[in-house]
Symmetry: C2
Subunit: 337 residues, 2 copies
C-alpha cells in the first residue's frame, strides 16, 4: 500500500506541516530536514497527492462521506453539493450512511479507513459527542487521513471544522421574536448534539440579553428519531390544555415549525397574529406552509464549498484554517410580525 | 485485475447463465461444459462472489449508485434506503451524482466502471432515453456488470428494472378526480423521461376511459430544472387570466402540487371545493400543506428492497426477474373531495 503524507511525517520524524513545506519547496525548511524527508519519500515511492492525481498513483482519489441520514433534506442537499464539488476536483465519493448510534458512527469511520480514502467528511454535528472520550475514534482516524467536519468543530490535529455559528443565529432569531413583543417563546428541538446544544445556548442568550427569565416548561425535546408534524401538533395541543401560555415558537429544524403551523390551524390561532413561528435551515418546507415560514439560513452551500476547498488544500500540503465559521441569516417571511 | 463472472463467460465461450449454473452446482450442465468453465476459473484465480465476500478476493464489494440529484427528496430517500441495505449485505456504495445531461450520465457510468464496482444502480428513470441509440452506454456497461434500474425498465441482457406502474397509478389518480365530478383537469409535469412519459400516458388513459376529450391546453410542462412553487403559482394565475377554465390539478411531483395550493391561496379559491389537487410521490411536502395533499405513494421503500435483493441474487449467480413491477397507491387527504 502506498504511503501518504502522514506516514512520511512519522517515518521522517517531522511534523506533517514540515513534510508539506518540503513538498511545496518552501524556503522555511533546513537543508538537513529537506534531505531527511526526501529520503523517506524517494525510498517508498511516495508521490504527493497533487502530482499523483490523474496518474493513478498512491491515492484512490476518493473521499469518504459519512452521513447520519441521507433522507434528511439538509444532509441530502449537503451530500449533493459535496459530491459534485469533489468530483469536479477529480475525487470520487464513497458514501456511508451511519445511524445515530455511536457504535454505528465508529463502524462507518472504520469502514472508510479500510477502503483507503484520502480524507473523510463527517456530515452534521451528531458526530461530536458531548462526552469527550467518545470522540477518541475521530482522533484515531485523524492520524491516518484529514477529517473535515460539516457543521462541527473539534480541537484535534488534522481535524478541520467548517460551520455556521448556530448559537449566534439562534440568539438573533429569538431576539427577533422578543423585540416584536413576544415573551412566552416555546423552544422545540430534536437534537442534543453539538449544533443542538449551540442553538439551545443561543435561545438562552437571547432571553438573558432582553432580561426575560428562562422558563424550562417552554422547552420541549422531541428525541433524535424522525418527528412527525402530528407529534408536534399534538404536543402543543396538550401543552395548551395543561394551561401553558405561549405566543411564539422557535424550532431547531423547519419540520418542527411545520408542526407548529399545524397546531395553530388545529387550535384556531392565527399565524403570526396570535402565534409567531421561526424554523431553522431555510429548507423547501418553509415555502409549503401558509403563511410561509421565517427561518434561519445556515449557509449550507458556502459551508460545503469551504469543506471541499479545505480538503483540497490539506491534501496538497497547504496550511489551512482549522475552523471556518459562517454567520447564519434570518430569512423573514409571513410567520413572524 | 481479478476476473468476474462476465470475463469467465467470455473466456469459456459459454453464457453467463451457464457459468452461474456451474458455480451453483446445478445438475443442468454437461460434464464437458463444467470442465471447460472450471478450467478458466481455476486458471485465473476467480472466486465466485458469494465465496469471495469477506475474503477480500476478486471483488471490491462495492456497488456504484448513480443519482441524478441527491437533493431531490425522492432520490435522497432512495439513496439512504439503498446504502443501508447494501451495507447490511457487506457492500459499500460509491456515489456519483450525475446531472440531467446525457453526457454527464455517460461519464458517471464510465467512472464507476473504472472503479471496478460489482454492479450499478441507475437511480430514477431519467437514465433511459426515448431515443434508443442514446441508451448504448447502458448496453455497453451491462456487458461488464449487472445494472439495476430504479423505476425504469429496459430490455437488455444483464439489466434489471424494479419499478412502480406509474401509468396505472396516474390513470387511477386522474379517474378519482373525474369520478368526483371534475372535468377540466390540469396536468403539470416537469420530466419527459421514461416515468414522466408513463404518467402522461396514464392521464390520457383516464380521460379516454371516461369519454372526456383530451385538451392540450390543460397540460403544462415546466422543464427539467428545479421548479419553484412560485413559478407554478404564477403560471396558473396566468392561465386563469387567459380565461382557461380548470377545476382540478394533477401533478407529476408533489412540489408542483404545492405550487397549485399556492395558486389557490393567491386566487382566493378553496381547496378542494373550488379546486381538487393530487400530487405524486407521497413525500413529506404533502403534510406541510393546508389542506394536506392527496398523493400517489409509489412504493419507493419496497422498490429499494427489491433492487438490493435482485442485485444480490444476480451477483450470487441466481436466476432473477428482469422486471419487477409494483402498483402505486393513492393516499387520500384533504385536497380532494
Amino acid at each position: 500500500m502506498p504511503l501518504n503524507i502522514y506516514d512520511i511525517s512519522r517515518r521522517a520524524g517531522v511534523s506533517i506541516a514540515t513534510v508539506s513545506r518540503v513538498l511545496n519547496n518552501s524556503p522555511h525548511v533546513s537543508e538537513n530536514t529537506r534531505k531527511k524527508v526526501m529520503a523517506v519519500i524517494e525510498g517508498c515511492g511516495y508521490v504527493p497527492n497533487a502530482f499523483a492525481r490523474g496518474l493513478g498513483l498512491n491515492s484512490m482519489q476518493t473521499i469518504g462521506l459519512l452521513c447520519p441520514n441521507a433522507s434528511d433534506p439538509y444532509l441530502a442537499q449537503a451530500l449533493a453539493n459535496l459530491e459534485r464539488s469533489f468530483r469536479a476536483h477529480g475525487y470520487d465519493c464513497l458514501l456511508s450512511c451511519t445511524d445515530k448510534e455511536l457504535s454505528a458512527r465508529m463502524q462507518g469511520v472504520e469502514l472508510l479507513r479500510t477502503r483507503h480514502v484520502d480524507g473523510m467528511v463527517l456530515m452534521g454535528s451528531s458526530f461530536i459527542e458531548a462526552e469527550d472520550r467518545n470522540n477518541d475514534f475521530i482522533r484515531e482516524a485523524a492520524k491516518a487521513v484529514p477529517i473535515l467536519l460539516l457543521n462541527g468543530s473539534f480541537p484535534c490535529d488534522n481535524v478541520y471544522g467548517v460551520l455556521c455559528d448556530d448559537q449566534r443565529a439562534a440568539c438573533e432569531a429569538t431576539q427577533l421574536l422578543l423585540d416584536s413583543g413576544r415573551r412566552r417563546i416555546l423552544y422545540l428541538y430534536h437534537s442534543q448534539n453539538y449544533s443542538g446544544r449551540k442553538k439551545l445556548a443561543g435561545y438562552c442568550d437571547a432571553l438573558a440579553s432582553r432580561g426575560v427569565e428562562l422558563d424550562e416548561s417552554l422547552m420541549s425535546y422531541f428525541g433524535e428519531d424522525k418527528t412527525s408534524v402530528y407529534q408536534v401538533r399534538d404536543h402543543l395541543l396538550a401543552l395548551e390544555r395543561q394551561g401553558l401560555e405561549f405566543d411564539a415558537v422557535f424550532t431547531s429544524e423547519d419540520i418542527l415549525a411545520v408542526g407548529a403551523v399545524k397546531y395553530a390551524i388545529a387550535a384556531g390561532k392565527k399565524v403570526p397574529d396570535d402565534l409567531s413561528i421561526i424554523g431553522y435551515n431555510n429548507s423547501s418546507y418553509c415555502l409549503c406552509c401558509n403563511p410561509e415560514l421565517t427561518s434561519v439560513d445556515n449557509k449550507l452551500s458556502a459551508i460545503c464549498d469551504h469543506i471541499v476547498a479545505t480538503m483540497m488544500g490539506v491534501l496538497e500540503g497547504r496550511e489551512m484554517p482549522q475552523k471556518t465559521v459562517f454567520t447564519g441569516e434570518i430569512i423573514r417571511r409571513g410567520s413572524t410580525l
